[in-house]
């Protein structure tokens, strides 16, 4: 039968077959392309997550030296309580008799999605107690950072200092 076809007919048939193949390829290809794009996006998200979790040992050790313990932030009231409680405990442990701790809202949070709370503290104590307190402050799992610290010595009172500091925490 194919012998009866002229060259023109054969050429037309070839174009037809190529066109049909192109249509099939387009239909299935576009669906496949969408699936592929979605899979690539999912993969990228997963990789970002994995990158966030999977930190190399040296870097992890560095992080651990600065933040040895950490608790995820709780709702504001609970976080206030937990943070203040832990801070009072640390002050007490250092032997610092402080005035009542004042909690106040802080500046703009450095981490989106979390509130930034500040706790102010005034105390009169020995300089060595200050050092002891600062050395153990990192053990507070709710602490974000020390925002302010003022140490004032009275030369007349040997070793006694006035301590003012503000520390911060995150809350939901």
């Amino acid at each position: 039968m194919i012998e009866k076809l002229s060259k023109k007919d054969i050429r037309a048939l070839k174009f037809g077959v190529i066109g049909a193949a192109a249509i099939i390829l387009f239909v299935f290809g576009s669906a496949g392309h969408k699936r592929w794009t979605k899979a690539k996006a999912n993969g990228a998200v997963l990789r970002t997550k994995l990158d966030a979790i999977d930190v190399d040992k040296a870097r992890q050790a560095g992080l651990m030296s600065i933040v040895p313990v950490f608790e995820m932030p709780q709702v504001e009231e609970e976080q206030k309580f937990l943070f203040r409680d832990k801070l009072s405990e640390q002050l007490k442990r250092a032997g610092i008799r402080n005035k009542p701790l004042q909690v106040q809202p802080g500046r703009k949070s450095p981490q989106s999605g979390y509130k930034f709370l500040l706790v102010k503290c005034n105390a009169t104590c020995q300089f060595m107690q200050v050092l002891d307190f600062l050395a153990r402050l990192n053990e507070n799992p709710y602490l974000v950072g020390i925002e302010e610290l003022k140490i004032k010595c009275d030369p007349k009172k040997q070793g006694e200092v006035e301590l003012d500091f503000t520390v911060s925490t995150f809350a939901l």
């Binding site: 496949g32 699936r35 592929w36 899979a39 690539k40 999912n42 993969g43 997963l46 997550k49 994995l50 966030a52 979790i53 930190v55 560095g62 992080l63 600065i66 933040v67 950490f70 995820m72 932030p73 450095p110 981490q111 979390y114 050092l131 600062l134 050395a135 990192n138 602490l143 974000v144 950072g145 020390i146 925002e147 302010e148 610290l149 003022k150 140490i151 004032k152 010595c153 030369p155 911060s168 995150f170």
Partner: protein, 483 residues
């Protein structure tokens, strides 16, 4: 280099198309067929078709077969010239010959084609054979023979010399070879086994075969006279000694030609075919060999790979070369197909990896931690990183401040606040001490931009000072950037 099994040679000799196919086998030759056409209307195309050669423009059978086809060009319109040149390179010889051709020939250079062949160097000089013909004539000939795509176009007189050497007991001495046709005679000067000059005389066997005695005598005399002129033209001084070989089919006509030349004082002799080393499918007589001497000679030349022929058609005819069959791997189509398959495979593998990769990671994570745990882990890690940036090491700061000072310095206050420089104040006993302290702080790691203001207490002579400096990046307004 390609090894040809056989050669087909076609010539138009004595107004008659002749063709042979010669095969070389184990050092001997075999004539596979001979064909001739006395048809006055015959042309090259028709005769080539008769010889079973492909004459269709698109056909490539001949190029693909193991036999080569050569065409013979009648040298009646070709001028041969001998000259000597100093021992120089081919390019210089070419220039010298072009110059000589332009000065000696009556035609402008663009109307002629020439070919040259140098002999061996002798006494610092090199003999050169030059063949010159009108370009128009050659172009016309090429137009005639192009239809059967000969691989070479050879000069008939070179074929005559070749067959004389191979099948007429020729030698390498300087000699003159006469190939007498029915109406003309090729006179070829042979030196070192190669044609060095040639002339075509318009006297042939038919002129010698007349029964009229007077006419024969006149022909003989004219022939002898012409031969002497030709030998003079060839520059042969010792004409009596120079051997003149008259190719012969053994008939009496050739004996009379030789006799007439001998009478004229020339050293003429008959050269009869010596068929040792020549076979044929059908029995061939001396007459047959003589009749097909030119195409056989050309076929011999074609089969002889060492032949350095005078190729006067070099610039006018490029024969169809056989397309060398390359390995299929070199085919562009195959290469494109392989490249396409590789691309398709690459796309499929990338697709499969992208589709299955995330899902397999998710599965593994699900097996170890839940999705909630995963998000929590990510958040925790991000928070820890943020806290790291927010947490100054104030113990380290106190240590640096303390270690930078020397005995005699007493500090009264220290103030640290994020986004502001650290401020310290105290007392020193001398300006030198203060400047050393300032310098030490400036050199301490993590401390920058140290500023100092000092006042001297008139009563106690103590110097009170206040210093400010940036501690790491906590002095800057924002602490979001990474350390």
């Amino acid at each position: 280099m390609r090894m040809w099994q056989s050669a087909v040679a076609i010539v138009n000799d004595d107004n008659e198309f002749k063709g042979v196919e010669l095969r070389k086998q184990d050092g001997s030759f075999e004539i596979l067929w001979t064909r001739s056409s006395e048809d006055a209307d015959a042309d090259w195309r028709g005769f080539a078709a008769e010889c079973d050669l492909s004459v269709e423009p698109t056909a490539l059978e001949e190029a693909d077969s193991d036999r080569m086809v050569v065409a013979g060009f009648n040298t009646a319109g070709t001028i041969f010239h001998r000259t000597t040149v100093p021992a120089v390179g081919d390019k210089e010889i070419e220039s010298i010959i072009q110059l000589q051709a332009e000065t000696r020939l009556p035609l402008p250079p663009e109307q002629i084609e020439l070919a040259w062949r140098a002999d061996q160097l002798r006494d610092g000089q090199m003999g050169v054979t030059i063949a010159v013909a009108r370009k128009e004539q050659l172009q016309k000939f090429v137009g005639n023979v192009r239809c059967f795509k000969p691989i070479k176009i050879l000069l008939n007189c070179e074929g005559i010399v070749k067959i004389w050497e191979v099948f007429f007991s020729g030698n390498k001495e300087k000699a003159v070879v006469l190939s007498t046709g029915s109406r003309n005679t090729h006179v070829c000067l042979v030196e070192e086994g190669r044609l060095s000059n040639a002339v075509v005389l318009d006297i042939g066997i038919e002129d010698f075969s007349t029964n009229v005695m007077d006419e024969q005598t006149e022909t003989t005399e004219r022939f002898a006279q012409d031969m002497r002129s030709v030998l003079d033209l060839f520059g042969c001084s010792n004409q009596e000694e120079l051997p003149v070989f008259v190719l012969s089919d053994g008939s009496s006509s050739f004996v009379s030609i030789v006799s007439s030349l001998r009478l004229a004082g020339l050293n003429a002799r008959v050269a009869a075919p010596n068929l040792k080393g020549l076979m044929a499918k059908n029995e061939l007589s001396d007459e047959d060999i003589y009749q097909y001497r030119t195409p056989i000679g050309l076929a011999l030349m074609a089969l002889d790979e060492g032949t350095n022929e005078l190729n006067i058609f070099e610039r006018l005819y490029n024969p169809v070369q056989k397309v060398v069959k390359r390995h299929w791997l070199y085919s562009p189509k195959v290469t494109v197909a392989i490249a396409s398959i590789m691309l398709a495979l690459l796309a499929i593998v990338s697709y499969a990896v992208d589709i299955t990769g995330p899902s397999s990671i998710e599965k593994r994570l699900e097996a170890s931690v839940s999705d909630v745990d995963m998000n929590l882990l990510v958040k925790r890690q991000q928070l820890i990183k943020t806290v790291t940036r927010e947490r100054p090491d104030l113990l380290d700061l106190l240590k640096v401040v303390n270690e930078s000072g020397e005995r005699g310095i007493s500090l009264t206050s220290l103030s640290f606040k994020k986004g502001q420089p650290v401020s310290i104040s105290g007392e020193v006993s001398s300006n030198d001490q203060l400047s050393r302290y300032e310098k030490n702080l400036q050199n301490a790691k993590g401390i920058e931009k140290v500023n100092c203001t000092a006042n001297t207490n008139a009563k106690s002579r103590k110097i009170t000072f206040t210093m400010t400096f940036d501690y790491k990046n906590f002095g800057r307004k924002t602490t979001k950037s990474k350390r």
